[in-house]
């Protein structure tokens, strides 16, 4: 027995059932050939209805004006930016799984990276809506890009973190989309070669770009993936760093914090993995992928949750300590106000969901219990939404001048728009699992023999 076999036996197999390569293709790709299941149809209908609600409320808001939101003189940013950061954060897990885990040679990523990356793209699309509609006149969005113009060639402010955000988010969306598509090509070709439908053959013939699996192409393909992973890794870290700059470069107590970049990145990974778990626990059941997205995968993701949840907890503590230690009375007030003021309920929801609840995952019994993990992942999503709400709204609502202190509550327009963004997210995700291979078939085949018991 060679050394490699020895190591393999110490690991649990990545695919639980004995499969041939053909069966792997069948398991994943046959789901695309069949008609939609009842559950898919129900889910899709609900998603499209919520999307319609979102589109309608956005239409109303654009026709009427930003005054339809609950913002006021003191709180000029609230749900809009909260939701933006919430969705961008969720959009961090996909690239982390596909790029960083590729560089670290984590083979378990293969069966979840496709769906996680798709989720990333859809989440970033949802995030992109908020800055656009906050402009009030979204048809002038192209003003955000530097181009020679008739306003005396008046340029953008390149020193503004909001502009950095424009570049960061659009680069992130582009590179993630390209990376995802490159990963899809071999599987698109597999569909082209196996499908019996003429229409599908035609469509997949076009979008698979003439892939034939030649070894010389594979060689370049693997190098390309490695390069893209190498570029995407610092990119994914930069994106949330820059999002945190939106706040950290201001002078508002509670925002002006040097810990923000790493704190936001850890939080983004945390929330992203929360959403991946929510989606994949359902997807594996819906699409019968239990042998591919195994309990081991769920467990590994739970471990990432423990790590990033603890990092977020540490950041909360550090922030609080530094607010006291700085001796700055405004800074101190903001933090004490967060924990004990009128928005204390939001603060404690955040702490219990993000810091306390993931600690339960130290128990193997709990992290292998899928119902428990599913519920916990919902808690993570809620907690991370509240984190952004707490950072943004509570820092603003009691500013330097007590006479201008105010409270904020969302209007029905904001609530409908937020629900609508979930509609968009789930509509896109459901379309994805219906029409494209949700598991990277060629990658799973590549690692299938890894740790499989030898007969």
């Amino acid at each position: 027995m060679s050394a490699q076999d020895e190591i393999c036996h110490l690991r649990t197999p990545l695919v639980e059932k004995e499969r041939t390569y053909k069966q792997i293709s069948d398991d994943v790709l046959n789901t695309l050939e069949k008609g939609p299941s009842k559950y898919w149809l129900i889910g899709f209908t609900v998603a499209v209805l919520t999307l319609t609600l979102g589109v309608t409320s956005i239409g109303y808001q654009i026709a009427t004006g930003i005054g339809t939101w609950g913002l006021n003189k003191t709180i000029g940013w609230s749900w809009d930016i909260t939701n933006f950061v919430f969705w961008v954060g969720i959009g961090h897990a996909g690239t982390l799984i596909s790029a960083i885990l590729l560089i670290f040679r984590q083979k378990w990523r293969t069966s979840i990276n496709r769906a996680a990356e798709a989720m990333t793209l859809f989440a970033v699309c949802c995030a992109g809506i908020y800055p656009l509609i906050h402009m009030g006149r979204p048809w002038l969005a192209f003003w955000m890009f530097p181009y020679p113009n008739s306003r005396g060639s008046l340029w953008l402010n390149f020193r503004s973190p909001l502009l950095w955000d424009v570049f960061a988010i659009s680069t992130y969306l582009t590179v993630s989309a390209v990376f995802w598509y490159i990963g899809l090509i071999p599987d698109l070709a597999a569909i082209r070669d196996r499908t019996t439908s003429k229409l599908r053959k035609k469509i997949f013939g076009v979008i698979s770009l003439g892939w034939d699996g030649a070894n010389r192409t594979w060689h370049r393909y693997e190098i390309l993936c490695l390069i893209l992973a190498g570029l995407a890794t610092p990119l994914v870290l930069s994106v949330h760093t820059i999002v945190s700059f939106d706040f950290a470069t201001s002078v508002i107590p509670g925002w002006h914090t040097t810990i923000f970049p790493p704190y936001f990145v850890a939080g983004a990974v945390f929330s992203g993995f929360g959403m991946v778990l929510t989606l994949l626990i359902v997807t594996r059941k819906l699409m019968n992928f239990e042998h591919y997205i195994t309990v081991n995968h769920i467990e590994s993701m739970c471990k990432v949750l423990i790590l990033t949840g603890s990092m977020v907890g540490l950041a909360y503590g550090t922030e609080f300590f530094i607010a006291w230690y700085s001796g700055n009375p405004y800074e101190r007030f903001t933090f004490i106000n967060r924990a004990t003021g009128p928005y204390a309920w939001a603060y404690w929801i955040m702490v219990s969901c993000n810091v306390i609840s993931p600690q339960l995952l130290w128990f193997k019994k709990l992290r292998t219990n899928l119902v428990f993990v599913f519920i916990l992942s919902i808690f993570v999503n809620i907690g991370m939404w509240f984190e952004r709400f707490v950072i943004i709204t509570t820092s603003l609502h009691r500013d330097y001048l007590p006479s201008s202190w105010a409270m904020y509550s969302p209007t029905w327009v904001e609530i409908c728009e937020f629900i609508g963004s979930f509609g968009l997210f789930f509509t896109l995700f459901l379309l994805f699992i219906r029409f494209l291979p949700a598991i990277a078939v060629s990658e799973v085949k590549g690692v299938y023999k890894f740790a499989q018991k030898k007969n």
């Binding site: 390569y21 005396g152 060639s153 071999p186 003439g210 892939w211 070894n215 192409t217």
Partner: protein
């Protein structure tokens, strides 16, 4: 286009394919190409595939992106429309770093992908004739061009069969 005819051996196991490739290369057969449903490691060396030069493209394009970001922002804020903000420097490089970085990554990544498509000749709607439909599914196909073969077909076919090929045949494309 002129038709090429190939002698192909179909394998169902990547280890047998690698062993057979080693054997065939050792016997000085010229392998036209090997088609696999997923990357099989070890074939590159055996087939003498040179290491791809894609990383150089990334480096050059990334460098270009970096320069565009740096020079563009310096031009805008100190040449085209300088604004005096409390006497601060016009070319405040540290504030330009985020956009420089993003442009480096964006142009680096897109150019590498474009270079990949260019040198692998992949493009939307390309008509491709696969030697065997199962090569994107579960079979590994070794293709030898008939012009390169000195022996008659049967000898080579028997040879491939002995190496573990489950099917051997002659195909024209």
């Amino acid at each position: 286009m002129q038709k090429q005819s190939f002698l192909i051996g179909i394998f169902d196991d990547e280890q047998k394919l690698v062993d057979s490739t080693r054997h065939m290369v050792g016997k000085n057969y010229k392998i036209h190409e090997i088609y696999t449903p997923f990357p099989v490691h070890g074939l590159d060396d055996l087939m003498g595939v040179e290491r791809s030069r894609l990383p150089y493209v990334t480096f050059l394009a990334g460098g270009t992106g970096l320069l565009i970001g740096l020079l563009g922002q310096v031009f805008v804020s100190s040449v085209s429309w300088p604004i005096n903000v409390g006497g601060k420097a016009f070319a405040s490089i540290p504030a330009f770093i985020p956009i420089i970085f993003e442009l480096t990554v964006l142009i680096g990544a897109l150019s590498t992908v474009a270079a990949f498509f260019y040198c692998t000749k992949l493009f939307p709607g390309k008509k491709v004739q696969v030697l065997d439909k199962r090569q994107t599914d579960d079979k590994f196909i070794m293709a030898l061009e008939k012009i390169d073969l000195k022996e008659d077909d049967q000898t080579v076919m028997d040879l491939l069969k002995n190496q573990g090929a489950v099917e051997v045949m002659v195909k024209e494309l």
